[in-house]
């Protein structure tokens, strides 16, 4: 089935406590020089073809529900 992926990330200016904790843990494990920001990935299966209209509709869904655009940004990509 065709799939569309929505990636949601905390906006750069918003503090990311989870990413910060992961960054710290990596550093303690010896993975130096890596800075992590943690987001979410939604894999969406679509009935029928992935047309520009379908992508636009999923963009609407992301704007309305999947992301909170006060603190997060998102992108929509056909997989």
């Amino acid at each position: 089935m065709p799939r569309v992926v929505v990636n949601v990330m905390p906006k750069p200016e918003i503090l990311d406590p989870q990413g910060k904790a992961v960054t710290g843990a990596l550093k303690r494990l010896g993975f130096d020089g890596l800075t992590v920001r943690q987001g979410k990935r939604f894999e969406i299966e679509v009935d029928g073809e992935v047309t520009p209209e379908v992508l636009a509709r999923i963009g609407e869904a992301a704007e309305k529900l999947l992301a909170n655009t006060v603190i997060e940004s998102f992108d929509v990509v056909a997989d």
Binding site: E13, I14, L15, P17, L65, L66, V70, I71
Partner: protein, 224 residues
Amino acid sequence: MVRIGVVTFPGSLDDHDALRAVRLTGAEAVPLWHGSDSIDGVDAIILPGGFSYGDYLRCGAIARFSPVMSTVIDAANAGMPVLGICNGFQLLCEAHLLEGAMIRNEHQHFICRDVRLRVETIDTTWTCAFAKGDEITIALKNGEGNYQASPETLRKLEDNDQVVFRYLDNPNGSAHDIAGITNERGNVVGLMPHPEHNVEELTSPTLDGVKFFESVLQFLSARV
């Protein structure tokens, strides 16, 4: 008698505490249900603490689209007093009745303790019985209470006197030490601490929560 509704969502925890606090203050407590779009003719609404819909996706994000919320949003926009406590505050932000959003606490810890707050404005339906500058102690318990908003929004909140409560000792990294805010009209208030837990001597170190409920009664009785 003034009737105050408390909405129960799947995953609400403090709905019964809120109902009890309403009763103790002398109003009629009306249980409301997330799955119904009726608010049963109440005069004011409380969105309680808890983990509505498991807090899946984001805190309050799914509850925001429950049937009762469309009625709550209309009522809030028409001027009805609405108080969001903890998860209820997150829900009001998701519903865009209040500005900004909550992220995870700085340092990732779940915090459960009494916090000191300063009442910054009494020009709201839920704080009019306080005096401006009052310092109060209220229970706080959450993992995602770190209030954030854009610099423009924060400036607007400060300029319009919409910051209602500030932490005296910021426990979670909230911008501008913000513990609670209101909308422009002052009828919708959200805060992370739990005033409904500070209404009885047996279980709380202070009775500072009582004035939240007295405020709305004072507001509603003045209106009639």
